[in-house]
């Protein structure tokens, strides 16, 4: 057992109680890893089971290649121990078929072979995806530690997948929380603050009309001007948080408006080809709109472009957005360096709705971003 602890990793071994080695396999909260044992001889199967029982994992057995395939269809195995010589489908063929399936294409397979089978069959085994070979009769300690390595590997990739999934869900949650919060603040500012300012302006105007004294009239005039500029500011803040266009008129109108705003704000000419104005799912619209804004931000920051062409297409099943500029063109290394959190953010946003963002560029020929988002799918 102590050698197993070593294999399982120093970190973990440090926590193992001196007298009880059981901790390795059954760490709390972890489901047991599945291990598939395939051999046509019940005696050998029994021996393998006995040997590996101390790992405390979920051992499944198959007495033929066919049976092994059936099990591999429904389960994800940490490792498969496969006898080479079996009647019917032999070990090599079984391995080939298992590896041909998407689900099990990287499942580790250890071949068990009689020493007499020699080198040629070993090479064949590696060709069909074996990761290791064990000669029969098997040395118990060697078998156990090899299997334990794969169990640990399986666990680690499982944990990685889980944490990836968690991060993605967290990101999705943050995106939607931020969007809600922005919408809420925008509405509060615009409606409450804006309306009160409007009322205030009307009151001051009422007062102004009743005044005869010139200095007083000048005062109320300047008050009115101040209120006006405050209303403008309120409007700018609210629109910056979330353009009311998006909710009132839908994505098509909002994209058109944003393109005009962009041209006004940057002097980069925008040409937008838009479909007829319609409204559809607001979450998909918001996602597409935010991605569009991010693309424009990147154009303004990095491209040195003087022109942006935008095309929004509305199909029965998906919406598509193409934005291309005539700037310096994004470089492959910039794309792959993944330094830009903005690019990553666009991809994550699209992914949330089963969509896709593609970015391509060549030096001197501008950058092109294509986004597609299916209309039918709601986020997970």
């Amino acid at each position: 057992m102590s050698d197993l602890a070593q294999v399982a990793g120093v970190e973990r071994a440090a926590h193992v109680a001196p007298q009880g080695g059981e901790a390795e396999g059954g760490a709390p909260g972890l489901a047991k890893a599945k291990i598939l044992l395939v051999d046509d001889e019940p005696k050998s199967l029994f021996a393998l089971q006995q040997l590996l029982a101390t790992l405390e994992q979920n051992l499944m057995i198959a007495q033929s290649g066919e049976e092994a395939l059936r099990l591999a269809l429904k389960n994800d195995f940490a490792v498969i121990l496969l006898d080479v010589r079996m009647p019917g489908i032999d070990g090599f063929e079984t391995a080939r078929l298992i590896r041909a399936r998407d689900r099990s294409k990287s499942t580790p397979i250890i071949f068990l072979t009689a020493a007499a089978d020699e080198m040629t069959s070993m090479f064949r085994g590696y060709e069909v995806g074996a990761v290791d070979y064990l000669m029969k009769p098997v040395v118990p300690e060697v078998l156990k530690s090899k299997v334990a390595v794969f169990v640990e590997l399986f666990r680690k990739s499982e944990r990685l997948r889980e944490s990836e999934d968690k991060l993605r869900r967290l990101a999705a949650h943050l995106i939607s929380v931020r969007e809600e919060e922005r919408a809420h603040i925008a509405r509060e500012i615009h409606d409450e603050l804006g309306q009160v300012l409007t009322g205030l302006k009307m009151e001051v105007s009422w007062l102004a009309k009743r005044l005869k004294d010139k200095p007083l009239i000048e005062k109320t005039d300047s008050m009115c001007a101040m209120i006006d500029s405050t209303v403008q500011t309120v409007r700018k803040i609210a629109t910056g948080l979330r353009p009311e266009m998006l909710d009132d008129m839908g994505l098509v109108a909002a994209v058109g408006w944003q393109a005009k705003e962009f041209q006004k704000r940057t002097g980069i000419r925008c040409r937008a080809k838009l479909p007829a104005e319609t409204k559809f799912d607001i979450d998909v619209s918001t996602t597409m709109f935010r991605i569009f804004q991010e693309i424009l931000t990147n154009v303004a920051r990095h491209s040195r472009a003087t022109r942006v062409d935008i095309e929004l297409t509305l199909g029965a099943e998906q919406i598509g957005l193409e934005v291309s500029d005539n700037g310096v063109g994004i470089q492959d290394n910039e794309l792959h360096a993944r330094k830009s959190l903005g690019l990553l953010g666009m991809q994550e946003r699209a992914l949330l709705f089963g969509g896709d963002v593609r970015i391509s560029g060549s030096p001197g020929h501008g950058t092109r971003v294509s986004v597609t988002i299916p209309l039918s799918r709601k986020p997970k």
Partner: protein, 209 residues
């Protein structure tokens, strides 16, 4: 002139009545606090003109305007809004609205608008008129700045926002003398003689914001 008003904010309704009271010939006959109530009042009361907020709880905006125009096609509806004119202005007019006024300009413009609309006209503020003009300045008489190349347009914009030749050169990755050449060409194409005139042109055509 019997007027129906609708706005979900009491302070705005109060202000509206105050502004309208300046004209003794008009009287507010109904005050709705949301779109559905506005529609209900429109059916029950006798009225000649309506003044509606663009965004209210329930039915509002273009939907409400459409409903009212369908049932009372002849009667003018003025739309008041917190939103600036470039957002909804031309849509409201196209949907049959008699006018579009931003709320902060109501004290100055509302009485003029009411008078104008009462006589069957449409009220278009000067800033909305600019927007409409630029919207329909399509091909036949292309605006001069549309004739600039993309690069000239950007140089024009940078000049109009007060950037120096050297700054523009750096920003666009060009040499200062190239930028100067662009400047000369832009001024010629726009028929202008100085940077100041260029700024004025850009502001008038709402090319900068």
């Amino acid at each position: 002139m019997r007027i129906l008003i609708a706005d979900d904010h009491p302070i705005v309704r109060h202000g509206l009545k105050q502004v309208l009271a300046a004209d003794p010939s008009s009287v507010v006959v109904g005050e709705a606090t949301n779109g559905d109530e506005a529609l209900e009042m429109a059916r029950k009361l006798e009225w000649d003109m309506a003044i509606f907020d663009f965004s209210m709880p329930g039915r509002s905006g273009l939907d409400l305007l459409g409903d009212i125009k369908k049932e009372f096609p002849g009667r003018p509806v003025l739309i008041l809004s917190m939103h600036s004119e470039d957002v909804h202005g031309s849509r409201v007019l196209r949907a049959g609205g008699a006018g579009y006024i931003t709320k902060e300009s109501a004290p100055q413009e509302l009485t003029t608008a009411v008078r104008k609309v009462a006589n069957g006209g449409k009220y278009v503020s000067s800033s909305l008129a600019e927007i409409l003009a630029s919207e329909c300045s399509s091909d036949p008489q292309k605006a001069l700045h549309e004739k600039l190349s993309d690069r000239e347009y950007r140089v024009m914009w940078l000049l109009a926002t007060g950037k120096q030749i050297s700054e523009i050169a750096k920003e666009m990755g060009l040499s200062p003398s190239t930028v100067s050449t662009y400047r000369t060409r832009i001024l010629r194409k726009l028929g202008l003689s100085s940077n100041a005139a260029l700024v004025h042109y850009a502001v008038r055509h709402q090319l900068v914001g």
